[in-house]
Assembly symmetry: D3
Homo-oligomer: 237 residues x 6
């Protein structure tokens, strides 16, 4: 029934290749089916002004799409002179999500910026960015630990994200673009490795949804995130 032929609760094939750029402290190329995101984590020994002299660290994120990551070419945001509302919303979500898995005292007064740049888009780019962004972050923090710059591990748990939705009346896991553009409801779940929730964003697109439907989406998400966490673990092993 799904355009891709997947089962209702089946993720797209996932691959996470690490160490893909020479300069970043941590990096990976995550592929969730045809959605490909390059994630880099950049370490800086400074914090935003509001954290100066607090002893607390900061993790933030930026998100972008290459102009031809999509079916038709989109205008380059740098040329347009501003980031769209959608871009800002997504990068705020990525940043909040990753911070939820960080002990900012243990990190110490330094900042890690996670850049998520979509090379190719086929739905679910924000979730892939979070899942891949965590891997880049983990690798950068590993470097800090190996260098003895932090005393204990500032990462408290995995953070991963997946979309679910009601497609053709059925709750399905991990929407690709053909499903996403038709779905009645679209939800993104960000969770920890221990299945605690960090962010839930569910949105009726065309049809509202009931409490029961929402519970089904949540169950699918729990399954999906556990598989993503396993993929993260394998990538950083």
């Amino acid at each position: 029934m799904r355009p891709s032929g997947r089962n209702l609760d089946e993720l797209r094939p996932i691959s996470i290749e690490t160490g893909v750029t020479a300069h970043a402290e941590g990096s990976c190329l995550i592929k969730c089916g045809n959605t490909h995101v390059l994630c880099t984590a950049s370490l800086e020994e400074r914090v935003p002004p509001f954290l100066k002299n607090t002893g607390l660290g900061w993790v933030t994120a930026e998100y972008g799409m290459l102009p031809r990551a999509t079916h038709t070419r989109m205008r380059r945001e740098a040329a347009a002179g501003k980031q769209s509302g959608r871009t800002q919303e997504i990068q705020r979500l990525i940043g909040r999500s990753l911070r939820a898995g960080i002990d900012r005292v243990a990190l110490g007064e330094r900042q890690i910026t996670v850049d998520c740049d979509v090379i190719q888009a086929d739905g679910g780019t924000r979730c892939a960015s979070i899942t891949g962004g965590w891997v880049a972050l983990r690798l950068a923090v590993n470097k800090l630990m190996a260098a003895g710059d932090v005393l204990s591990d500032p990462i408290t748990d995995h953070v991963a994200a997946i979309s679910c939705g009601v497609y053709a009346g059925q709750p399905v896991l991990d929407l690709d673009y053909p499903e996403d553009s038709e779905a009645g409801t679209d939800a993104n779940f960000v969770m920890t490795g221990s299945a605690q929730m960090i962010e839930v964003q569910a949105s009726a697109e065309g049809a509202t949804f009931s409490r029961d439907q929402f519970a089904e989406l949540l169950s699918l998400a729990e399954k999906g995130v556990s598989e993503l966490v396993a993929a993260q673990a394998k990538a950083i092993a």
Copy 2:
């Protein structure tokens, strides 16, 4: 236990005064405790370019805060030269929420812009904007119907929104600013008059949350929204 002395499942006093500006097709001043939002609905006989000659109408929203709506003065966005990511995220949410209660075919090829301007802020401004924005929209549509410009009512149901959160370890309804700034989890629920869900946004702020905690927040929200819908009904009566 709450700073305001309210019960865990108690809304702030709500008042919705309609017809507060002379020019708008629909308007109200909604007060949720000390959060005051002026909502206007402006009707235009044109649609955005992507809807030209489709027969479909459009409802959109814009959100703003007066500089001294808050405890300390914030920079005016018009002077800063752009709307913040937070502002854009909120106005996108208001627009999506209100569109979920509209039959765009019945509305016909015209646009209604709902402006939500926060006069005074004490937490929950996006939810008050949605609840009050719907009243302004309802009144503008009433004008269209009275003039015979639409054949059937384009409004399919009430739309209202409320925040809930985990404060001091307890799920509570309708966070005010002192609660919001301390809450471990913060969630916004947008629902219809028949308790269907339109938008759910839950965010861990400092502590993650479990599936059970989320269910408790949702139950509180159902109670809150039903009371808000009653207040809307009374206001437009």
Copy 3:
């Protein structure tokens, strides 16, 4: 002869309600007929860079219009990404006018920002902003004095403003929108409580004006300002 039926030298009904927002150090809602402006004065214990370590204070103003303050909806300046030339011109005028009634040495090295936001417009918004802005400023300064933060009153006199114009060939006081849009000449006078002039701005719109006509406008303005000053005095009593 006037659309409103007023006498040539008759102000619109004026009301000034103080203390209308919880957070600002001073605030009022001024209504000059159907022109309604919310004025707040915000006190900050810092000054612009060019005044650092001079011992001098600063009073500045910002002006805005809600998008549907007008007959048809105007584009929100924050969304447009800049303040119009008209907005900047008006807020510069308000700031200069209010500073003319302030002893900046007595104020000491602190800044008061007066925000004037037009809720509903029917002509004369810049004059209402000055007249109401002074009331907000007065109340904020009262707080400073009550707290003993200033030794002598930094406010030297009332500041109020009124428009006059040549409408249908006749000099009239306090133009409303129907008059303003037809007037041959449009003038704004800012004066002190002792009838000294602070700002005069007169502009031919369609027809030039003579020295005699200008003198008649000035006499009308003196009458109008004296009534506004009385309304200010009553509001702050």
Copy 4:
């Protein structure tokens, strides 16, 4: 008593050289003492959208300062990414002033843009821009008339402008920079060749002014403008 040694009612030496650029339909370099402004009038056979198919023409103005027109270098507005409030205020004034001397029906549906670029500044740049801008406009209109593109002269009268102020307690004509920066009151008068008023802008800078003082400034301005009009007449002869 004046820094320049001029009499209280004495203009600075004025020169108006016409035809200074090869491309513009009308142009002049006006020198009011050390204030030098290059004025060009550009004719376009189109009007702004709000005038399409009305048969009415439009005259508009833009104003700029070369970065080193002033004592110390100012930031280039093109590099800063926006025109300052002061620039916008001045160019709006120039445009309104020049339009007051134009019969827009006689001009027909075309636009003339007057650019006033300050090469060297020593006070009074907006007045010099208006006086010189009118000469450029006159020359461009002459071209239209010579070509038979307009049937009757769209220019109804001279337009010229001068500043006056209260300097060291004395009303003086045509403030230069040393006077302007010290003046208690600063006023700009735009008038026609027949001494009718187009714009009056008077501003207390430090000290308010009385009705009598204002009348003295106005008398000085009438004298000054009559001399400027004579200089214009000579330049275009």
Copy 5:
């Protein structure tokens, strides 16, 4: 003597992988040593306004760098709100260069936009962008030809580019970042497959250069471009 151990006239290893993104009409990932650029060509059946109804096509280019393509993270241009002067200069160069190898009549009234996004930077990104951009363009044009949308091949010749410079007093081919940052003279040559010149940009950085030195650089460039053209030919075979 070179940091990389290369001979003075030796290119870095070059690889050009085609078909790297699913959506673009043409694409490649070009690697010149550690400089990696993703190039996509997007076809649109419209032209810029100045070419409407001329029968002529257009080729344009945009250039960007991922924030962590470089040793230390650079600010994202979309977040900064504008493209730097350097970015604009480079993308104008790429566009001009590619247009020099196009017959715009044969292309017909359509536009191809070549996006060059630097994934990893180690010197020579603008030259790699031109060389790779031409491959993406070639592939997109192949699609047009295969579909019968153009009658004759609009591509007239290869276009490729290489940098040369005076490093440690010696003319060397294909500067990498360590060389580029030390070079006394830096030159970029854009040439056709038949060794005709399209663009020459040579710049003294610290030391000026003589006519003889320039001739040596040009000879190196001819050798380098011939090798790049061979690599292009192999990639599209």
Copy 6:
């Protein structure tokens, strides 16, 4: 054969008038035929942040065109809200070129900004800006030396620039606008007084060029620059 009747290797008449503005430390008005550029050099006793405490000085340049410097009026960049890519490219070129003739150690920690504003354009504005900009710079440095603020002359040599091109199949010197808009190849050469090269920028416009053609252009440029250097020497004598 040239539209102007000049010989193939003939410059336009050149005049350089110095001391044309009262405030700048150095200034000139350079006229290359009908191309007129006002150049000012402004001295500031501060350097950009990246040079603080290095003992090194800085020379930078900005470029602008008055809106009606051209045949038809161009939009004012300050009104458009940004400098075009062309403007940025040109001012970066001017700055690099002038720095190549400066000993930044001898200059000491101060900045000189050279502003080049085109009053009238007829081709070759960037070259005239460099040639005239050097004169303004020379005069400002002379002031520094006369005041004893520098110990040795920071200017190491003349810097001048000229365009050449292939027009109607012939290499010609110093393109004017009619030639420039038709030229198959357009090149700009920046050289020192001793004929060393600083910048070479050659660009095929419509037709590529051979190594031999390039050599001919370079020979023409050497002749032209030597004449410009003589004109500079005469102007500052």
